[in-house]
Structure formats: structure tokens, C-alpha cells
Amino acid sequence: MIRRNTIPFGPQHPVLPEPIQLRLVMEDEKIVEALPSIGYVHRGLEKIAEKKDYVQDVYLAERICGICSFMHSQNYCQGIESLMNVAVPDRARFLRVVWAEIHRIHSHLLILGLLADAFGFENLFMRLWQIRELVLDIMEKTTGGRVILGVCTIGGVKRDITPETSDYILRQLDEIERQLSAVLPSLTHDYSVKQRLVGIGVLPKDKAYELGAVGPVARASGVAMDLRESGYAAYGELNFAMVTESAGDCYARTLVRVRELATSADLTRQALAKMPSGPITTPVKGSPTGEVLARIEQPRGELNFYIKGNGSRNLERFRVRTPTFANLPPLLHMLTGCQLADVPVIAICIDPCISCTER
């Protein structure tokens, strides 16, 4: 006889580092429904942003999420800049690309490591995180911070990259790629890893489109969608090919991230090579008026900020739509019908970042 049980998964769970609770309605080992229960990390950030000065909000925006912190501040600055018609110096646009792409490498390595941990391959987790430390070294060397950089500012960036540091970054990138080439095959070709990933949590293309998936989740299902193609910051002057897969399962999502590591390293090299000389910031006067929707491609997908200013130092409204929020409905779709043992793998595979989702 089939028995119905409800199993709470989270908010404090050994494999899921993120505080979300999923109530899994089970029939024996099979999940028939997943109900998310959120609010454990809600900080009321949008309201705090209205109380602070719009320049202080850059640092607040950076702390929406500690993993892709730079891109949050970049998106906020780009939004305010378009409201105030500030022309950002060319060098600053390229520097933003460098930091954004380095952040993407660190974020992808982080999630691939956590994925390895979720299916019990601890050695791979340790190796990937060890390589990730090389990426953090670049960030520390160029900005002084390891995860929260604090270099983006309205009108440009705060720190420059000298030619010596640029050489250092290139050497470090070569080292990272050399070490990754030894480790990544075990993630993509290992028999037992494939057993845990291939055909698990399938999201067909039409469902991905219908449920509004973004980022690697959408691209792994064959939805070609990457905001970097719109050419914000300096992406318009750099060449890159969008990475897509068609299978839509956990393995495809892993492959997309693995291949994007190479794209990001390539973009960083291009940006360092093509970077023009000149100032890195322009002075900004006045206060923002009007409203804008700022969009950017994060490691997890498309990030939207709605910013409304009324001519005073405080914003009238600041609204954040993060990629994980868009990827939650696809997650619930993928979980329905899967086995309990696959829940951690599927949940990690969408690269959940609950801290930014709940703000």
C-alpha cells in the first residue's frame, strides 16, 4: 500500500547550504509535490535601500548576495547611470567585464564543487574549491576583497588594473585552466557521476520557456538566452559564443557551467587585451529622477533591478528580481516525480541562491 508522507527538507540541512525549506509530499520514495516555504533570510533590503543615500546603496546592493556580489553592484550602478545619463569611461567598462567574468568563474566553480559534494564525491569538491582559491587570489590582488569587492561605483570603478597585475591575472588564468583540465574530466566523463546526473530532473525546452527559466537552467534546456549578447558594459566589443545544451537534465546543466568556465576565461583575456587607457571614473552630480529597469547576466541568469528615483538623495523604490526566483518554478516542476535521493542534486543544479531571492 502506498503511504503519503510529508518530509521537511531544510532550512538547516547538511547538503543544502541555503536556508530554504521544501516540504516534500512523498508516495513511498517518489515525490508527488514540492512546496517551498521561504522567509528565513528575508532582510527587508528593498526597504533599507529607500532609507539610505543612493550612493550608499551601491554597497547595500553588493550585499544582496555574497556570491555574485560584484554583479549586483554593477547592475545597480548601470541602472543609476542610465537614469542620470552618465557616460562611463571606456576603461571602466572593460574593467567591469574583467571582474564580472572572474566572478562568474568563481561562482561556477563554487556550485560545481557543491554539486560534487551533493552526490558524495568529496574529493572533487575539495579539488574544485582549491582551484577556486586561485580565482579568489586574483580578486584579492586586484581589489583587496575576497568575495565582496566594493570596487564598483556610480560613474565607473574605484581601482585600476596595472600592466603587472594584468600579467599576473593572465598567468593565474593559465594556471587555473591547467589545473581544471586535470579535474573537470572526472565531472563530465566519470561513470558514477553520470549515473547521478544523466536523465535526472529533466526540464524540456517548452517547459523551460513556459516557466520562465533563466541562465544556465534555460540554456541547458536549449533556450538560447544570454543577456551578455545585448552588449552591456563592454560585451558588445568582445566576441563570445553562447553555450547551450539540449538535454535539459542535471548533466546538461553541469556541462553548460563547465563550458562557460572557458568562455569566461576567454572573455577576461579579451577584455584585458583590448582595454583602452584613460580615466576609470567620472564625477557624478545630482540625484536620479525617473524609473529604469536594469538587467544583467549573472552566473545564475538574468538579474533585474527596478529603480525609481524622485530627484532626492533617497530612492523612491528599489525592486530586485533575482535569477533564483525565476528558477524556482522550474525547480518545483523538476522535483515532481523524482526520487527523494535525487532532491539535493536537482536543487543544487539550479544553483540556488536563497539569500538574494529573499533579499
Partner: protein, 166 residues
């Protein structure tokens, strides 16, 4: 016979992400990896509070997770110590003005070590955990194991459970 220094030699840590921005969390996870290698001090990261001696908390408390944090703390066997990582866990940090933020985690559980930083650096966290292990050791030898420090949950409104699925 002197008490064995089991705690100082191998404190087990449970990590709870309270209300943080993830910055401090990933720095704690970085502590576990080969570059910082927390395990060389015998420190092990466990998922079950019932196995743990040290509670490491990142982020401030809000109305919803105060009860969960207290629950995790209560489930740990005595003696136990609490490490608050980052300025959020100390005071609420940049989010202290939030309508939903109650403040530092000392509003809910007694804290032994505060680790500064936004985010706290892995070196600082390791230092904090080792200091916590020393406190744990002194608590153990002082044999106050049966008295657990209880603070009332003040300023917290209980949050009703979400409706049960049928």
C-alpha cells in the same frame, strides 16, 4: 584524573545560515577546503546539531528564523559554545535598519566569540573557532555541563506554521 581534552582536540562545528548575504557562508565553506583546511585542527563540519560542540552562525536573526536558531542551539548537547561570524551576526550589520531584522544573534542565543569582518576572513573564522574550543574546554573542566544557559526569546513574535499540505 584530569578531564580529557577531547573538546580542544576535536570540536565539531555545525553551521547555521541565519540571515546572511552568503558572503560569510562561502567564506566558512572555504575554511573547509584544502587551502585553509580546518580539519588539521581536528575540527569537523557536521550537519546534525546533536553531534556538534560549536555552533557557528552567520547573519542576523529575523522574526522567522529566530525560532529555528534557538531550536538548533537547544538540540546541541552541553557544554556548547556559539561563534558569531561577521558584523551581521554581531549587530545586524548593514541590515540593522531592516524592518524584519531583530539584531545580532545574541538576542536569541548566548554568544561566546564574535568574529569581525564583512565578510569575516577565513583566517579570522579559524581563529574564532579555536578560541571557542578553548572556552569549551574550560567549560568542560569547570563541570558546568548540566547548566545550560537559557535566555528568553524576547522581541520575537511567534510565526505560525504555513498550512499543512493535504
Amino acid at each position: 584524573m584530569p578531564a580529557m581534552s577531547t573538546f580542544k582536540k576535536s570540536p565539531w562545528v555545525v553551521h547555521f545560515n541565519c540571515n546572511s548575504c552568503n558572503g560569510c557562508d562561502i567564506e566558512f565553506l572555504a575554511c573547509l577546503t584544502p587551502v585553509y583546511d580546518l580539519e588539521r585542527f581536528g575540527i569537523l563540519h557536521v550537519g546534525n546539531p546533536k553531534h556538534a560542540d560549536v555552533l557557528l552562525v552567520t547573519g542576523s536573526v529575523n522574526h522567522r528564523n529566530a525560532r529555528v536558531l534557538r531550536n538548533v542551539y537547544d538540540q546541541m548537547p552541553a557544554p556548547k559554545v556559539v561563534v558569531a561570524c561577521g558584523v551581521c551576526a554581531a549587530t545586524g550589520g548593514i541590515f540593522a535598519d531592516g524592518y524584519n531584522v531583530l539584531g545580532g544573534i545574541d538576542k536569541v542565543v548566548p554568544v561566546d566569540v564574535f568574529v569581525p569582518g564583512c565578510p569575516a576572513r577565513p583566517e579570522a573564522m579559524i581563529d574564532g573557532i579555536i578560541r571557542a574550543a578553548e572556552i569549551l574546554e574550560s567549560r568542560n573542566t569547570a563541570a558546568i555541563t548540566s547548566v545550560s544557559c537559557r535566555k528568553p526569546l524576547h522581541r520575537c513574535t511567534p510565526v505560525p506554521d504555513s498550512p499543512k499540505p493535504v
